[in-house]
Homo-oligomer: 214 residues x 2
């Protein structure tokens, strides 16, 4: 029974790592599509999101089956619960990668991001990539220290997000409102993507250190 | 055992209804604060969000305790799972009400919404209110028909959202980019609030009709 439970939990965790790695690729491709105005790549990112959603459904289902079959308690039950919450966060990260990719399309073949703002978008894309990479690592090898590191990384992301907003809103000559809105939304997608990576870290830390269910 | 389980499930459901009703008030107050530039009301909405978050934590905890004590299977387990997912959606709706309320603050005492766009914001606020009211009703008295009604209401919301975006982006004279961005984000907060209300309906429908865990 114990062995079976541990095999199920390991399977759930492997699926979470796969899902997070897949979302990492999706966001990296979305950023590339955005910065190179690559319409085909953007379309591929949006299309592949269905796989991430399917993985989330499989994780939820396996968790339900495991709870029903094994009736885990306390820490084991908490670990399964955390897995479902992590899957929800990662699924949302996949949506945000899709949002970034879609922003590439209406302007094609013109790039969405004006030349003078490219460097900041490259930076925010890189920061997002580092955070999702860390989230995947924390899931693969749970570590409360590394999990809290993600909160510090998020300060860098927030700072970058603020700088990007100022650059967009204070640009001279002023951007037209449609372009300004698109760029602010884009910046927001990266910032929210990072927030969900922080959530993943916090949930893993909670699983490792959380007080038991009483 | 059966009676205890049903009492626990009823308690979880009551908390969900309370949480949803509270979020309904939060969004209604946020809309009033926005349209009347009422800074105190806006601050109160933001402050009260902590109560909604606390309710979500209580729901999660009660669900974990119930699973641990009663080891429910199949439909019962699913009902508890759905409750946690609904709580996550409703908590996010509370965040969005807070986002709307906060948008009131930087412009005070000037209203954030220009006079010629007020009517559309009144409408989108009313549409959001109808949907969260329906979500609370569906939770209080589960009904798959009413749950799917929320999806139809969302078409109205999406249409309103599109009209609002056009009105903001095509306005003559053009809005400055900062104002345009604020208004587009506001419209998006209402639209996403409605999406989460739809999720609540779908999850209730799934609980009523979903295939059993195997």
């Amino acid at each position: 029974m114990r062995k079976e439970f541990e095999a199920d939990l390991a399977a759930v965790n492997d699926m979470l790592v796969t899902m997070t790695t897949s979302v990492r690729t999706a966001m990296a491709d979305a950023t590339t599509a955005l910065l190179t105005a690559d319409r085909n790549l953007a379309t591929a990112v949006a299309a592949r999101d269905a796989e991430v959603n399917a993985l989330r459904d499989q994780i939820e289902n396996l968790v339900l089956v495991t709870i029903a079959r094994q009736a885990p308690v306390a820490g084991d039950l908490r670990a399964l619960f955390v897995a479902v919450q992590v899957a929800t966060d990662v699924e949302r990260m996949g949506d945000l990668a899709t949002h970034v990719a879609r922003t590439t399309l209406p302007y094609h073949p013109r790039p969405t991001v004006p030349a003078d703002l490219r460097a900041l978008f490259v930076q925010i894309g890189r920061a997002a990539d580092e955070m999702v990479t860390k989230a995947a690592e924390v899931l693969a090898a749970p570590d409360a220290e590394a999990a809290t590191e993600l909160e510090r990384d998020d300060d860098t992301m927030d700072d970058l997000h603020r700088r990007l907003l100022s650059a967009i809103l204070d640009r001279k000559p002023a951007l037209d409102v449609t372009m300004g809105v698109q760029l602010v939304l884009l910046a927001r997608f990266y910032e929210r993507f990072a927030d969900h990576a922080v959530n993943v870290g916090q949930r893993v830390a909670f699983r490792l250190t959380g007080s038991p269910v009483h």
